[in-house]
């Protein structure tokens, strides 16, 4: 009986007017969130470069503000706003979440941290584990990533706690692309470097205001060339790399350089 009395002291007496107000506030917040999540990406996808990314990045922030604002409006309708009541309620809810919905709560908190730290935003190209793709939506519990093969992958924010996230463009419109070439060691490296630079400079996707480079590394099986450059837009990365690879191979073949082929050894283990 004392417990029931204490609980009843925490909550307000809810009448029909309070219920109507409660439903109206939650419905309005839901509509606002839906509108923000639809309208801003719609506008953002019609913009180019940095403007697009900046606009897309505001979506989860605005949603978080709406949710916090809604909670601030709803709580006084349900409970008597005193410190004791708030501590008692939050402690109870926290305990329940801690036992029953531990992973869900962990993802929610990680989502708030991710939005605050801006580890990834809409439009970023991220790698989490073996998954690489463009962030299309930063939700409260998960991020939605669309891979180059057009697969939609939902990754819980909770992975942030114990896994590294590689962000290729980090809010910028462009990201570095690398095209690899593997050549037989008998060739003129200086000449190859020059022609590979020309291959980059003549690509229709090249963004000229970022540096380009040709890195060379001698390996036991041959010479490894890594051609680094930035495309005009991060969405062109695969077309850019394909273009560099196709034209680079054609030019290197014309130069007389021999591409290495690693022999495939069949696995004879029982």
């Amino acid at each position: 009986m004392p417990d029931e009395t204490q609980v009843s002291q925490i909550f307000k007496k809810i009448d029909s007017a309070a219920i109507v107000e409660l439903v109206a506030v939650i419905a309005l917040a839901g509509l606002l969130i839906i509108a923000v999540q639809r309208v801003l990406p719609w506008i953002g996808n019609r913009l180019q470069g940095k403007k697009r990314l900046n606009l897309l990045a505001t979506v989860p922030l605005i949603r978080l503000v709406i949710i916090l604002g809604t909670l601030a409006m709803v709580m006084p309708l349900l409970i008597k706003p005193s410190i004791q009541n708030m501590v008692a309620l939050l402690g109870t809810v926290g305990l329940a979440l801690g036992f029953a919905l531990k992973d869900y709560a962990s993802s929610l908190i990680a989502g708030i941290v991710a939005i605050g730290e801006r580890n990834y935003r809409n439009g970023d190209w991220v790698q989490v584990g073996n998954i690489y793709g463009e962030v299309r939506h930063v939700g409260m519990r998960t991020i939605e990533v669309v891979t180059p093969d057009d697969n939609r992958v939902l990754i819980p924010h909770a992975l942030l706690w114990n896994q590294s996230v590689s962000n290729a463009n980090n809010g910028e419109a462009r990201l570095q692309c690398v095209a690899d070439f593997y050549l037989h060691p008998r060739h003129d490296s200086t000449k190859v470097q020059q022609v590979l630079e020309d291959v980059v400079l003549t690509s229709p996707y090249l963004y000229f205001d970022e540096p380009i480079g040709v890195a060379v590394k001698e390996e036991p099986w041959g010479t490894h060339y890594r051609l680094r450059a930035y495309p005009v837009d991060s969405s062109q990365q695969f077309r850019f790399i394909s273009d560099l690879t196709v034209r680079g191979k054609a030019v290197l073949t014309g130069l007389g350089a021999e591409l290495t082929v690693t022999p495939a050894v069949p696995d004879r283990r029982p």
Binding site: Q48, A173, P204, F208, V232, D233
Partner: protein, 247 residues
């Protein structure tokens, strides 16, 4: 110089030799002309500063008004008054009554970024009747010249700048085609598929769609961007962060 190279790994040797000889002074004294976009690209290939490179000063509104006045031939001896056909506002009077430059000339100069070639082309395209033309059928009062005052004849111009509209479903390939055409000052269709990662049929389809929309024209065996589309195309490419000129 825009015709001395191809944006291809095997197409830069000639222009590099040319620039090198010009740098060494082996070409002697002379003047080399180059399109502004091609020059912007060549500066990335040959990054030696050229303090002696000159460009035509941008035509501001007063210079443009003087140029347009000097181009106007007044055969009847009367004053020629250019007016906006939409609102009747005065655009230009030849000979001029005062030094004031009308806002439409200011807008034209700003829109064309001081590029005199495109400004003159826009100006001509906007005119709806010639001063000496006599209307046979006065069906449309806006299109005929009016002689309100005996010592003045009016020429009417459209109120909006004639601009092409990009085809619906604009994709990245349109920008690639327009960019390569601007960098080379026009190209024959046979070279497009060698300079772009697109097949020949795809290039032809894009060329025809762009041509129908008024963004490119076929002239002297080359596809090129006409003056009336230049400002739009440049704005499109610049908005997408493609390499453009600095002025």
């Amino acid at each position: 110089m825009e015709h001395c190279y191809l944006r291809h790994a095997n197409g830069l040797k000639l222009v590099r030799q040319l620039l090198q000889r010009a740098e060494n002074g082996r070409l002697g004294k002379g003047l080399i002309g180059c399109d502004s976009l091609a020059w912007s690209y060549l500066q990335r290939l040959w990054s030696v500063p050229r303090p002696d490179a000159l460009t035509l000063q941008a035509f501001d509104s007063s210079r443009l008004a003087r140029l347009l006045s000097s181009m106007t031939v007044c055969r009847s001896g009367r004053r020629v008054h250019f007016r906006n056909a939409v609102n009747g506002n005065s655009i230009l009077t030849v000979p001029s009554e005062d030094d004031r430059v009308r806002s439409e000339i200011v807008q034209l100069a700003a829109y064309c970024r001081g590029n005199v070639g495109t400004a003159v082309r826009y100006w001509r395209e906007r005119l709806r009747s010639e001063p000496e033309a006599e209307p046979s059928e006065p069906s449309n009062s806006e299109e005929i010249e009016q002689t309100d005052e005996p010592d003045e004849e009016s020429v009417w111009g459209t109120g909006v700048l004639p601009e092409p509209v990009m085809p619906a479903g604009t994709d990245e390939d349109f920008a690639l085609v327009l960019h390569v055409l601007l960098l080379h000052g026009g190209l024959p269709e046979s070279l497009l598929s060698q300079l772009l990662p697109l097949s020949h049929p795809r290039c032809m389809a894009l060329l025809l769609r762009l041509c129908n929309a008024g963004f490119i024209q076929y002239r002297e065996d080359r596809w090129s961007v006409p003056e009336l589309a230049y400002a739009t195309v440049r704005g499109l490419l610049r908005g997408r962060a493609y390499l453009t000129d600095d002025f």
